[in-house]
């Protein structure tokens, strides 16, 4: 595993001067992924969303590699087209050098509107890496719920109202859906654990065929936590088992990190404005339900990973 000392010498390919909000998780995630692609020529494809509108405001681009944005729901198809072009032109000796293909999409562009395009690209077996920047809502259009939005979250289309306390549905398990595509590499990671992100990005880039990585990439504006606390908040997502770190390599599930203690979900929810209403007296049952959801998902994951499905004592 490379050290930060070494990694800091790699050329920066997502430069300052982009217009993401101060403290946006996407800036961190993209820098980590491109850093792991050190030394390779890269074409980045990007779905519409905060990352795209903030990084390529004409005539400025924050990308030091080739970049293409097409539309919101088609990053998967677009990057597969570029990859097909590469294959065709490579055969004819018309491309110099080797290329890697990375697509970035938000949770909206990946879990929801772009799911079909992504699924198609993965099933067809293109040699691409698709990275979902999951900030659990449509941030670019002003914090609307997506199928990645957690139960209970207050968003502008699942507002915490007098009758309905935020989003009523559990999150879609996209990472498992991608694993069900039987592609060579699928992983879930979070930026608090940079080594984990780095390792997974490396593996995804090296593997022959499609790879998918789901990265928890917090949005301070939509989540309403104290901006500097991004690593802490992400860490709490992992420690409370809300966002487990795992990978599926050639069909084999593996848990990459097992929290030692039982950290209740409140710890993750409390610092975030989007969950504030859950802490009003009389709403204890809502938090309890969220905890149950987290626990049952965790147990199911342990089973898939061949671990004993049990929780540490509370």
């Amino acid at each position: 595993m490379a050290t930060l000392k070494e990694l800091s010498k790699v050329e920066e390919r997502f430069v300052g001067g982009h217009r993401l909000c101060a403290g946006c998780g996407h800036g961190i995630t993209v820098r980590m992924i491109l850093n792991a692609a050190e030394g390779s020529n890269v074409v980045v494809g990007c779905a519409t969303g905060c990352l795209e509108v903030a990084s390529t405001i004409y005539p400025y681009t924050a990308w030091k590699c080739s970049f293409i944005h097409n539309a919101f729901e088609n990053a998967g198809a677009t990057i597969s087209g570029v990859e097909a072009a590469y294959k065709a032109l490579k055969k004819k000796g018309k491309v110099n050098g080797d290329f890697k293909f990375i697509a970035f999409g938000g949770d909206g562009g990946t879990y929801d509107i772009g799911l079909q395009s992504l699924s198609g690209a993965m099933e067809r077996g293109h040699n691409i890496v698709y990275v979902c920047l999951d900030n659990e809502a449509y941030m670019n259009t002003g914090i609307q719920r997506s199928s990645a939005t957690p139960t209970g979250a207050d968003t502008t289309t699942s507002p915490a109202g007098k009758v309905i306390p935020g989003k009523q549905q559990p999150r879609k398990d996209l990472t498992a859906i991608m694993a069900a595509h039987n592609i060579p590499y699928v992983a879930q990671t979070a930026i608090n654990n940079w080594q984990d992100v780095h390792k997974k990005a490396k593996k995804a880039l090296e593997v022959e065929g499609p790879a998918f990585i789901n990265v928890l990439s917090p949005c301070p504006r939509g989540w309403r936590y104290n901006t500097p606390d991004i690593v802490e908040i992400t860490k709490l997502a992992v420690e409370t088992r809300f966002w487990p770190l795992f990978e599926v390599e050639n069909g084999k599930w593996k848990l990459n990190y097992k929290p030692k203690k039982y950290v209740p979900i409140e710890e993750f929810l409390k610092p975030q404005g989007r969950f504030r209403h859950l802490f009003k007296p009389g709403n204890e049952h809502l938090i309890k339900a969220i905890q149950e959801e987290v626990d049952s998902r965790w147990l199911a994951l342990l089973e898939r990973c061949g671990e004993t499905p049990e929780l540490p004592p509370r």
Binding site: C65, S66, I68, G76, G81, A84, G97, R124
Partner: protein, 393 residues
């Protein structure tokens, strides 16, 4: 070398695609285009082309992947019909704005709903303002010829735009026709190799494409597209002339049929032009000076050429195989009337909507139209501007 063969329109288009041998084809099946995808897949499976075939999961992805491929620097194609084109709508605009020379046949079919699989032009007309070049083909021969020329038009440095090659669903796509195909080598030399200017797969010169364009630049970039469309008119004519050298068939922006001394004329796209020409011949034999104008290029709109061709005519009927629901007639009607307005010589222009959902256009219908035009010419009176042909009313 030229060979006469019997092929359906779909087979002819697939044959052209094989001879063009594009780097990437991304396509999805839909009636009546399906055969093109199937036949082309078999070319790929049998190693008859070098193409990377991307069997996408939808037409939206077909055009999206074609965009990715073309942006990558490849010669890319797709093909579709009707609902498929409608699903692509969003990305067709993007292909045009990114200035990517994607050639794509569209086998014209009515748009749902109600669902229907037969010919009309509502699919193509829905994208007339998307910024793509639209060529129309009367028969399999023209579809084949248009495909080959489309590559040169699309890739011309002054143009760099997608080209949609239209032919009528079933009528042309499925009917066996005798046509002349050119040998592989000649086609290969004619289309040449694609030399992209702006592309992603250039390790030395990374590029950002599809960037966020605000009110301070978007307008200018749209104006650039207009310029490319203007340039396309000249390029289409040049390519048409060059194509004549290898095929003996010359193509321009429009086909004027017996218009020089015509009193009455009919304007119509695609296969119906054949029927119209036949009727015009009959009428000529009876002493009626009838003519037909068939726009080969609908976008960019050949306004000057059409004005020139129709300037001596007294009454014109525009036949539209699509509705606009404006209640003021079909799409081409608006364009033609607008075109003739500046002549200020009181040409009467009327509109007929015909053939929606595959309804046959019969000889009697066309005869009726010419008869109406003759009446208008004689009386100088138009009773009804927009009429329907072959509708039960």
């Amino acid at each position: 070398m030229k060979t006469k063969v019997a092929l359906t329109g779909n087979e002819a288009v697939a044959q052209a695609m094989k001879q063009i041998n594009p780097d990437v084809v991304a396509a999805y099946p839909i009636t009546p285009q399906t055969e093109i995808v199937q036949i082309f897949s078999s070319f790929v499976a049998n190693g008859e082309v070098d193409t990377e075939f991307v069997a996408v999961e939808s037409e939206h992805s077909a055009m999206s992947a074609a965009i990715g491929a073309a942006a990558g620097g490849a010669r890319a194609m797709t093909a579709t019909s009707s609902q498929g084109l409608a699903l692509m709508f969003e990305v067709v605009y993007i292909a045009a704005s990114l200035r990517l020379p994607i050639v794509f046949p569209v086998v014209n079919r009515a748009l749902s709903g109600p669902i229907n699989i037969h010919c009309d032009h509502s699919d193509a007309m829905g994208l007339r303002d998307s910024g793509v070049i639209q060529l129309f083909s009367e028969n399999a021969q023209e579809a084949y010829d248009n495909m080959i020329q489309a590559v040169r038009i699309a890739e011309h440095p002054d143009v760099r735009l997608p080209v949609m090659v239209n032919m009528d669903g079933f009528i042309t796509s499925h009917a066996m026709d005798v046509l002349e195909v050119i040998d592989d080598e000649t086609v290969k030399n004619f289309v040449g190799t694609y030399v992209p200017e702006d592309y992603l797969l250039d390790a030395q010169n990374p590029i950002s494409m599809g960037n966020f364009d605000m009110y301070d630049f978007y307008f200018e970039h749209k104006r650039q597209q207009v310029e490319a469309m203007k340039a396309a008119k000249e390029v289409i004519k040049e390519v048409g002339k060059e194509f004549a050298k290898i095929s003996g068939r010359e193509y321009g922006l429009i086909e004027s049929y017996k218009l020089d001394d015509a009193d009455v004329a009919l304007v119509v796209l695609n296969s119906a032009a054949g029927t119209a020409k036949g009727v015009a011949d009959e009428l000529r034999a009876k002493g009626i000076k009838a003519g037909v104008l068939k726009p080969r290029v609908y976008r960019p709109f050949p306004q000057e050429e059409i004005r020139e061709a129709l300037k001596g005519v007294k009454a014109v009927a525009v036949l539209d195989r699509a509705e606009t629901f404006s209640t003021c007639g079909g799409p081409m009607f608006a364009d033609i009337r607008n075109t003739l307005y500046d002549l200020k010589n009181d040409i009467k222009v009327v509109n007929y909507i015909y053939g929606l959902g595959g309804r046959d256009l019969r000889l009697e219908h066309v005869q009726q139209v010419f008869e109406d035009l003759e009446n208008i010419r004689k009386t100088g009176r138009v009773d009804e501007t927009v009429k329907y042909l072959g509708l039960r009313e």
